[in-house]
Subunit: 303 residues, 2 copies
């Protein structure tokens, strides 16, 4: 049998590349570029913007985006500080779409958990003015938005005519569930995308952040009954031990990590290396990369 | 607490729509269109093209695409008939990418399972001539291929200049793992996409089919160690009870299902209803749909 898992690993994981030392103009894989990125290409997220979702299986680390959803992020900080989610659950898991969590009894006034000092009503924050944002544009065509790229490590869509920018729904995106009214989300009910990017939701819902580590703890949660994945039986829900702000956690208990700056040369070069793969595996470089196919590298490390 | 799970369900699952009886020109949701599709809009797949991947958690149903990969599909049929995969395993699960299965000892001549009468070498079948295929094109822009659409229920890319068509890597796509050589796959090692569509693999690898039911049995398989998801410990692998051709299974044990024809009016109308959602939830219809965001409806039912 000629297929060797080691080779298949390289082939399918797209992570290992032939290295021919001494060739000055040789192709460098995205991983090689990232590994060689200088210290200043990495950023340490602000602990006040990091949310730790603690599950039995471990910690999920989320970066919040107050520059896009200041009202929702402020409310989420309040809810976390007041332990709103502790003991609540992930009550929905729909295949190729989202997991959703918060208070499954939120619609029952007799059983709903009190919101404490958090606001009960917030304006929608679907998009914001592009002014004041550093935008690193992808040159690639996109069907969902006039322009796409990155702002502060987040994938975004952008409309130059309207002068607006919004967070895109990619794998790992954290959004605020709402009902039909645009202003019906307050950040207490949240969902994380774990399937093909549902970009039709872009600029239609308030996005509040992105999972940056531990996504695999959410994506393997058994799916609830079709079509929407809500668990009928409470015992099948996944309990949330706690959701905490990293800034409220003792330093020794924080998860030290850094993210590759999306305004760095290394990020642009790694993206180009993926857009046109020139290793021994690829027979036809795509010449394209989709916004939600661009990995946003994270590394363990103390600031 | 104003957020009601029932409303959130509608909002996020995008499946329930307001019904205003009596308005002749009212918007119909994709689900309403599909529910009203006539019998001839549905097709019953050929049992000789259906593969049953039997896991402890249940059955995964795959439709093979012999019109795109005749050599590989013939080999897969032989391997299934000769019980090649029975007792082997899913030995890789990489988050936001693929699960991969076959013989984890395939690289060890002393331990590899014999291939029986299956061919040990096959030509690559990355694409085929477009001639002779009914192509239902999506009008939407795509960055990965000059044209995209559907052939016989499969999402495809198409190059009118080269006159070629290939199966696209979407959620649920089944491909034949290979090493660096284009002709190094024979269909014994297979992978299923369970993350954001890795379309850079299109026309770079032989795609052999698509999961049409039971995808959630694969997508929840715990991820193996990063970065590539291969299990180091054999006991963590998921055992394959059997992979069988439906045509070799007694009729009473088959899974009766039908697929919405991608050349039907209902399919085109449902896709348009998703491209421009006009229900009470959406504030801004996308005006676009991505190839891999188009659901390919399946229903239970006896032919």
């Amino acid at each position: 049998m000629s297929l060797r898992p080691a080779l298949l690993a390289c082939a399918l994981a797209l992570l290992c590349q032939p290295i021919s030392a001494g060739e000055p103009a040789r192709y460098r894989s995205a991983q090689e570029i990232i590994d060689a990125a200088p210290a200043e290409a990495w950023r340490t997220p602000d602990p006040a913007n990091l949310l730790y979702l603690e599950l039995e299986s471990g910690r999920v680390v989320i970066e919040l985006a107050p520059q896009f959803a200041p009202g929702h992020v402020a409310n989420i900080r309040t809810l976390a500080r007041e332990h709103f989610w502790d003991g609540l659950s992930i009550y929905r898991s729909q295949d190729n779409f989202v997991v959703q969590f918060g208070d499954p009894d939120g619609d029952d006034p007799a059983k709903a958990r009190p919101l404490g000092t958090a606001k009960k009503k917030l304006p929608a924050e679907f998009h914001r003015a592009s002014a004041g944002l550093r935008f690193d544009r992808l040159p690639d065509a996109d069907g969902w938005a006039p322009q796409v790229g990155f702002v502060d490590g987040f994938p975004v869509g952008r409309d130059p005519k309207a002068g607006t920018t919004w967070l895109a729904h990619c794998y790992g995106t954290l959004g605020a569930g709402r009902s039909n009214e645009a202003d019906s989300s307050i950040g207490a009910e949240l969902y994380v995308v774990d399937g093909q990017s549902p970009r039709q939701l872009d600029d239609n819902i308030t996005v509040v952040g992105r999972v940056i580590q531990g996504m695999e703890r959410l994506s393997v949660i058994p799916r609830g009954p079709a079509p929407m994945g809500f668990y009928e039986k409470p015992e099948l829900r996944t309990t949330i031990k706690a959701i905490k702000l990293a800034s409220e956690v003792p330093e020794a208990e924080r998860t030290p990590l850094q993210l590759l700056r999306t305004d760095s040369k290394a990020f642009a070069e790694a993206t180009e290396a993926r857009r046109n793969r020139r290793d021994d595996f690829y027979k036809r470089p795509a010449g394209h990369i989709d916004l939600c196919n661009v990995p946003l590298p994270v590394r363990a490390g103390v600031p």
